[in-house]
């Protein structure tokens, strides 16, 4: 690829034309020349790397995400690029999305990633790449779809022999119409009591454009998951849990959450009476053992030593039990779960960060505590920012500004920064933007 360019340059031939161009939020310009993607900063043009195998091939389309990412349609599929990384990373969609080589891509103001391929039109949400296939009635079956955004927020879709304008805002809001849990109908907000272990069997009905799909999450987890086709969910961990269910339409719009509160009993061996009773029985047995065996030189019993011995033995037994059946809440009898997961080669690593956006387009990572809330676990701060969206992001930004009066800031993001673990070391790839807010976004 470079050799012909060099030969052409030596021959004094004109530079190959820029096929596509896009300006990033950082001010840099992405250009596609002879099917390859480059980033231009001033007079410097740098090639964007291919990341993991297989290589993306020829770049066919670019689309800017309002949150600063760039989605790329290439021969190898859909890819994503971040403003501060220099390689493309493949988008691996989850859900029923059209396959085949993508021909065009567009990101709308709500950050939905629309793409067309030889097999149809699909849409992805930009944080976890959950997606659906568009089955709009106006969409006739036909090869080689292409799409483009229109200024009024709609989608112009073309295919061989036809075209259609799709308006994601036109469909009525989806809704969950009925929920049955383990065969029994429930209303939103109802509390169900269940023993630990086993499954919940969910049967949902709903109304949504393109057919309702159902998604769920437990305890406000930031990732909504697709409900399995058979509706069976593993019982959440014991304790008070909140199960949220939503219906989703073909545009990825979702209904208001349907709440099911769960009170899941702890297994009998975690019940206070059982634990204390068992400890008492074992402690007494140990005490009897030590009281009988521990004697001084003259053969007299040593009750204090026996008592302490029994307590020590019990503590050690509990420590070993905690090691075998780890549970952090048993502190100070705790086992180990951290750092135990194995990462494979080319696996992805996620590191959640709060990022302040500066007016010049640059980004600054700030500690989660930087708005004044002292936390032990970053997700305690991050989750509400993702969940509540703009109001929470705006409030955090204001608090951050109050504590950092000299700093310029025009927006805030929650990012999951990502790295691929390659044989040459970690390679930074485009982050996931889990929450995004920029002041005067339209200006």
């Amino acid at each position: 690829m470079l050799l012909p360019s060099l030969v052409l340059a030596l021959l004094g031939a004109p530079d190959p034309p820029v096929e596509l161009a896009l300006t990033e939020t950082s001010g840099a310009r992405l250009v596609v020349v002879e099917g390859r993607l480059f980033r231009e900063r001033g007079a410097t043009r740098t090639a964007i790397g291919d990341g993991v195998e297989p290589a993306p091939g020829r770049v066919l389309a670019l689309a800017a995400d309002p949150a600063g990412l760039t989605f790329v349609a290439a021969e190898g599929g859909l890819y994503v690029l971040g403003p501060s990384v220099a390689v493309l990373d493949p988008v691996e969609p989850e859900g029923d999305v059209p396959g085949g080589r993508p021909t065009s891509v567009h990101v709308d103001a709500a950050r939905r990633v629309w793409f067309a391929s030889a097999e149809g039109v699909g849409v992805l949400e930009p944080s976890h790449f959950h997606g659906r296939r568009l089955v709009s009635p106006g969409l006739a079956p036909g090869p080689s779809y292409a799409l483009a955004g229109t200024p009024d927020g709609r989608l112009a879709i073309r295919w061989e022999g036809g075209e259609h304008v799709h308006d994601p805002a036109a469909a009525p809001a989806p809704r969950v119409t009925s929920v049955r849990v383990d065969g029994e109908p429930v209303t939103s907000g109802a509390t169900l009591r269940r023993p630990s272990g086993g499954e919940l069997v969910l049967e949902l009905t709903g109304e949504a454009a393109g057919g309702a799909a159902f998604r769920y999450r437990v305890d406000g987890h930031h990732v909504w998951r697709s409900l399995p086709p058979d509706g069976r969910l593993a019982m959440p961990n014991p304790g008070r849990r909140t199960l949220e269910l939503v219906a989703e339409d073909e545009d990825l719009d979702t209904s208001a959450p349907f709440l099911v509160k769960l009170e899941i009993a702890y297994p009998f061996y975690f019940a206070g009476r059982f634990v204390l009773g068992s400890a008492l029985v074992v402690g007494l047995a140990l005490l009897a053992l030590f009281a009988r065996g521990l004697r001084d030189a003259s053969g007299r019993a040593q009750p204090l030593r026996a008592l302490v011995s029994a307590a020590l033995a019990l503590v050690l037994v509990l420590q070993v039990l905690a090691g075998l059946v780890p549970h952090a809440k048993g502190w100070p009898f705790v086992g180990f779960g951290m750092y135990t997961k194995r990462f494979p080669r080319d696996g992805l690593i996620y590191a959640e960060r709060i990022v302040v956006l500066r007016p010049d387009g640059s980004e600054r990572i700030v500690p989660v505590q930087s708005a004044g809330v002292i936390v032990d676990e970053p997700w305690e701060v991050i989750r509400p920012l993702i969940d509540r969206g703009e109001p929470a992001l705006r409030a955090y930004l204001e608090a951050w500004r109050a504590r950092n009066p000299g700093e310029a800031a025009s927006g805030l993001q929650v990012q999951a920064q990502r790295s691929r673990l390659t044989a040459h070391g970690p390679v930074s790839v485009a982050p996931l933007v889990l929450a995004h807010f920029r002041e005067n976004a339209g200006g």
């Binding site: 420590q319 070993v320 780890p326 502190w331 135990t340 194995r342 673990l421 070391g425």
Partner: protein, 447 residues
């Protein structure tokens, strides 16, 4: 018969292990280290506990109060601000009294309970960590042992009073039953922690955990100042992973003897330094400090005297460098997040270690006392209690000999600072000047 003998043998070993005699100085130093660690443990989470208690984040607090199981069993609720303030003062008072050695056992018991409740409260708002596990068990074991028998104001006061009443001012208890118990429990807890940490990695991920990419992923996720020096080389990461697993799973071997302690305790320290610098784990300082349970703390001055105070120059430099670096690093981490004046509290300890390492800095000083005087005996008892570096020879004197004056004594002390640990007692010792030095009795080295 054989079964009975076996049980008897087991119980005898059990009794020796837990209740056998051990050095009281070691126990006392361990008490001080543990309470210093407890201070660090409660200090680093104080803002979070107070913030929750103050209700600044009441909605947040309600949403995030997930009590540890022990709190659930005890029915403990999050503290309000007044309770938190009282608890804080009580914990600090207990720690200070415990370090000074005033009502030592009671202070240690209160410090243990307070630390458990304070740290447990923070863990009930956030997530529990491992750094304070061995600390809490060790603290609860302290009151069971004679923790105030040495290096405490109460022991000083007791000896001083006994000396006034005619007792031998130089008589100090060296060893006692039960003194090993807190050390043993702390050691076993640490060994359990490391062992299960290693075993769980293998149980969940198998040997594939050591593929290099796992460690790379952890270093990337918790990117730290040294991460980039290591994470680009999978073969090096494989080696590090294997070393880490061996160090953790093999740690219980430290109970087999001194050699293994010299292997596994430094590995553990190295592990924490590396984890802090490459994986963002934080300092794990409290766990680091509790590792002192494996160190014969009472022998440090003698070891320094032997390895730094004498022998080949290369060895002296090497040992001094290693010891100095370790001590400086630990101190820097400890005082790094605390008020600046706290570093100065370590000055007397530093002086003692310096004197121990450099015996020529301060030659042994002979001090005379009149054994017929209760006040002089009391002063001698005080000096003996403070003479950690074994630089004093306290000799009973007969009539007709002179004793050095305060100024003459001070002139023999290089720098005024080194006299600091001794100053309170000097006045008392020399308040009874009696001429003549008779036969030396017991020297510091003998104690």
């Amino acid at each position: 018969m054989a079964e009975g003998a076996s049980r008897g043998s087991f119980l005898a070993r059990w009794e020796r292990f837990w209740f056998g005699e051990a050095s009281l100085v070691r126990l006392a130093l361990f008490r001080i280290v543990m309470l210093a660690a407890a201070f660090d443990g409660v200090w680093v989470v104080r803002k979070a506990v107070f913030q929750h208690a103050a209700g600044l984040e009441s909605e947040f607090a309600k949403a995030h109060w997930r009590p540890i199981y022990a709190f659930e069993l005890l029915g403990l609720a999050p503290p309000d601000l007044a309770t938190a303030r009282v608890a804080w003062v009580v914990i600090l008072a207990a720690i200070v009294l415990g370090i000074l050695g005033v009502f030592t056992r009671a202070a240690c018991a209160v410090a243990a309970l307070g630390t458990f409740l304070w740290v447990g409260t923070e863990y009930s708002f956030g997530k529990p960590h491992h750094t304070c596990v061995a600390l809490v068990f060790g603290l609860f074991a302290l009151p069971l042992a004679p923790v105030g028998a040495r290096l405490s104001l109460e022991s000083w006061w007791r000896r001083r009073r006994a000396a006034r009443a005619g007792g031998d001012p130089l008589a100090v208890p060296e060893r006692a039953p039960w003194a090993a118990l807190p050390l043993r429990l702390t050691q076993l807890t640490i060994a359990c922690g490391y062992f299960f940490s290693g075993v769980t990695k293998l149980a969940i991920s198998g040997l594939g955990w050591a593929n290099g990419y796992t460690l790379m992923g952890i270093m990337v996720e918790y990117r730290s100042p040294w991460s980039h020096h290591f994470y680009a080389s999978p073969p090096l990461l494989v080696l590090m992973s294997v070393g880490l697993l061996c160090g953790q799973i093999g740690f219980p071997l430290a109970f087999l003897g001194t050699f293994f302690r010299w292997v596994f305790v430094p590995i553990a320290v190295l592990f924490h330094v590396m984890a802090m610098k490459t994986m963002g784990t934080g300092t794990f300082l409290t766990l680091w400090l509790t590792l002192s349970s494996f160190v014969a703390l009472e022998r440090i001055p003698a070891v320094l005297m032997r390895l730094v105070g004498g022998g080949p120059v290369w060895r002296r430099v090497l040992v001094a460098g290693a010891f100095g670096t370790g001590a400086w690093l630990t101190l820097a981490i400890y005082v790094g997040n605390k008020p600046g004046w706290m570093a100065w509290l370590c000055l007397p300890v530093g002086i003692v270690l310096l004197l121990a390492a450099l015996p020529r800095l301060l030659a042994p000083i002979e001090l005379a006392y009149d054994p017929r005087s209760g006040a002089a005996r009391a002063a001698a008892a005080t000096l003996a209690a403070l003479d950690w570096a074994h630089r004093l020879r306290l000799v009973p004197i007969g009539p007709g000999t002179g004793a050095p004056s305060v100024l003459a004594l001070a002139a023999r002390l290089p720098l005024g600072l080194v006299a600091l640990p001794f100053l309170p007692a000097l006045r008392g010792a020399l308040a009874q000047p009696s001429p003549g030095i008779s036969q030396p009795s017991r020297t510091g080295e003998e104690r």
